[in-house]
Symmetry: C2
Subunit: 126 residues, 2 copies
């Protein structure tokens, strides 16, 4: 039996794993939420909606969503406009584009294939 | 309706998504495979075993596994030794450590929480 490394290294590895896992799925979840939205949504609304879906990596810090939203807009999968707010400064509202809808379908298929593989590999792991 | 960007941008985004998704789950799958192995395995064996689990991101290029194996060894989750091969040059054999087993249980729990969230978000996406 090989001696275990200091706990801090394991914690670092776990954080790295969660970061890598989340960077892919957060973009997927954002597209899915905006695909089902009836009207454009702003960041806080999107974050609250994601939180409602459970306590995985999706319910992380709201601030982590903004770079992903900007990135998805940069590649044309989302579009945004600045609009008035009932209270406070104007907000940026995001909507999914036609390209975003098409991409969501591809990503969802890629997700399902990966999920099934991982679940099969993990069978028997407590 | 916003005009779609050139297909190449969507393809780039899909590749980025698959890369991010895979970087997290490949490490998880490697730990799971080695956790179930009765004896240390070498790279080609591990790659063939992963291929048997389906056509998601896990059945990618064998060469993509090696940096992840080295990384897992660097953090003490795997251990390796060089041993003889029936044919050809000596091979590097990998085994999971006690720390790796503990980490696998944590990662598997993180995976399941994330998977359930994403599946819920994706409900209704074709």
């Amino acid at each position: 039996m090989i001696e275990a490394p200091p706990p801090s290294e394991i914690e670092v590895a776990l954080r790295k794993f969660q970061r890598e896992l989340s960077s892919g799925v957060v973009a997927l979840a954002l597209l899915a939420v905006l695909s089902r939205a009836r009207e454009p949504m702003y960041g806080y609304q999107i974050a609250k909606t994601l939180e409602g879906f459970g306590d995985g990596v999706l319910s992380g810090k709201q601030s982590a969503l903004y770079p992903v939203l900007r990135n998805l807009e940069g590649t044309g999968l989302l579009a945004s406009h600045v609009g008035p707010s009932d209270a406070g400064p104007p907000r940026r509202y995001y909507a999914i584009t036609a390209a975003g809808q098409a991409t969501l379908r591809e990503w969802a298929a890629a997700w399902r294939a990966t999920r099934d593989s991982v679940d099969t590999v993990l069978e028997g792991t407590p």
